[in-house]
Structure formats: C-alpha cells, structure tokens
Symmetry: C2
Subunit: 191 residues, 2 copies
C-alpha cells in the first residue's frame, strides 16, 4: 500500500537517526504526511511499526551488502570494503539492530526476535563466504567474521569519523589473516 510505504520510509529514517524512543508517533505522522488514523490502520502500534522498520532494514541492508560483494573477486575482503563505504555515509549511526536492541530488547520480545533473525541471516551469509573461501571450519570463521563486522561497526559508531575508516581496515586485515591472506595483503606467516 502506498501509505504504509511512506510511513515506513519516514519512520526508518527517524528511528535510525535519532533512536526509537526519541521519536514519537506524531513526528512519524508529520514526516510521512499520513494522518494519524491511517498510520494506526497500517501499523496498529508503535511496536509493530518498529518491527516493520527492522524487517525492512534487514532486507535492504543485506541486499546492499550481498549485492556489492557478489561482484567482487575476493568476497571476504569485499565485505569490509563495503563496511568502509557504509561507515562513511552521511548519517551513519552504527547498526540499527544493535541500537534498537539496546533500547528495547529488554522490553520487547518482538524486537529481540527480529534482531536475532537479522544477525542469524548475516551469520549464515558469512558462513557461505567462509565455505566458498575454503575455510577448514566455516562455522568458526563465520563467527569470527561476524565478530569483526560487529566490532568494526560499533567502533565506527562510537569513535570520531576518522576512526571509522581505520576500524573497517583493521577488521579487513584481521579477516585476511584469518582466511589465510587475501590477494595483495601481507601473509600472516611470511617466509
């Protein structure tokens, strides 16, 4: 529906930039241009809107990542190249799922579940990249890559802008070492 999409676009922008609790439904109404009545017809509660926001973000974020990575030869490295670009975008404010979980995870089971689904989806994707790279233990490497992705994102969020690039690169170098060295990078065991 036309209206639901406009609501979701406005809510997504506001929730990500300022946090869920900091944004009221009336602000979503004003930003979307949809009346409050219709807004509640599309999403019967704020929690439902937050869940829809996260589900939409999951789809778009994963699509952007996988789309970028698919076209690159060294796919594990491409993940961290993509992160570096993301960190540099205007309005970058870390992982929307982690932020939502920190705000609401203790209160809302629905939010907790959608965050976990997203993280499991990301882990599964990294597992496929690990297997493709010929890892001896793709499950372990996927877990390590997930830790690197999360850690780089948090570090990029909390630090000053120049730290964001450094975090992505440090994580990329670590990933290269763990996967057995990407092309053009220093091998972990020279000689």
């Amino acid at each position: 529906m036309e209206h639901a999409e406009r609501v979701l676009a406005a809510a997504g922008e506001l929730f990500y930039r300022r946090g869920v609790r900091a944004v009221g439904m009336d602000e979503v109404r004003a930003a979307s241009g949809v009346s409050l009545k219709r807004l509640y017809q599309c999403y019967p509660s704020k929690e439902a809107l937050v869940v829809a926001y996260l589900e939409r973000r999951d789809e778009r974020w994963m699509a952007a990542l996988t789309g970028y990575v698919a076209a690159r030869p060294d796919r594990v490295q491409a993940v961290f190249d993509w992160l570096e670009r993301w960190f540099g975008e205007d309005g970058f404010r870390g992982c929307g799922f982690v932020n939502a979980y920190g705000e609401l995870g203790a209160d809302s089971a629905a939010v907790r579940d959608v965050v976990r689904r997203h993280k499991e989806r990301l882990r599964g994707y990294l597992r496929s990249l690990a297997a493709e790279a010929g890892a001896a233990d793709p499950e372990l490497l996927a877990g390590q890559l997930l830790v690197l992705v999360e850690g780089a994102t948090v570090t990029a969020m909390t630090g000053p802008p120049e730290a964001a690039t450094a975090a992505a690169r440090a994580a990329g170098l670590a990933a290269a070492a763990l996967t057995g060295a990407g092309p053009g990078r220093a091998a972990p065991c020279p000689g």
Copy 2:
C-alpha cells in the same frame, strides 16, 4: 557522600539492565531510598546522573578487566577469557556505553564524550598489551583487538546465551592468530 553513592548504585543497576530512557528518576529514587530532593542535590539533572553512571562504570569495568588480566601469563588471551566470564554473568546486557550511545549519543554531547573517553581508555590498554606481546605494529593490533572485544560483546548480547560463549572463544582464537598464536592454541600456519 553516602547518598550520592546509593543513588549511583541504584541508577547503575537500573540504567544498565533496562536502558536509560526506560528508567525514570522516580524509579531511581525508589530503588535508592533517597528522597527526590536530595537526589537532585547530588545530581542536578538526569543527564548528570547518566554521565556519573558511565564514569563509574568505566572505572569499575576497566578495573575488573585489568585486574583479571594482570595475574595471567598470556595477557591478550586473558582479555577474552575475562570476556567469556563477563558474558556469562546474570543480567549481562552488552556494553553499557554502546547501549547508552545508541540511545542518547545523538542528543547528548556529554554522553557521547564519556563513551569516547572510555573506548579510548580501553584502546590504550589494549595497545599496551599489544606492545608487551611484541607486536610489530601495536597500534594496528590494538585496533584489531578493540574490534574483537566490541564485536564479541555485541554478538553475545544479541544472541542466545550459548552464542555468548562461542563469540568470546571465536574472538579469542582470532586474537591468538593475530598476535602470532598463544600457548596451547592452534597456530595459524601449521607445519
């Protein structure tokens, strides 16, 4: 002062467990047993109380980490051993600084600054461990260890309990590979 400490203890527990915005000043009053008037004498605003909470958390968290690590032979590995213990504690809910930043960082410069100070302190400590371990580039290794610590913490928070242990171990193994293999761990380049 006696009262300020009781307020801070109650606020710290509540803010960490449920999030800053989810806890009202009246709840802090009730949990601390300090009257609202005195509470505002000790901390003239909620923001001041939040900053004090984070500063106290910085001191205690860093002291717990460094105290544990100092007594161990392999200090880099000890960081991740300590993380694993922390993740298993009752009421573990990720990094209080990251959560506070996600909730308030966009609104409160004071919160943003205290979070950054804490993360810089942690980075500096990891740099000293990296240098002690004989890293070729301690600054880079410190950045990588910071990414691993942050990533393990986020992964432990968002995932189910059993994932927390796995995240700490995966990060520890990654750290061992990056530092050139800790004792008793598999070397990254067998043979």
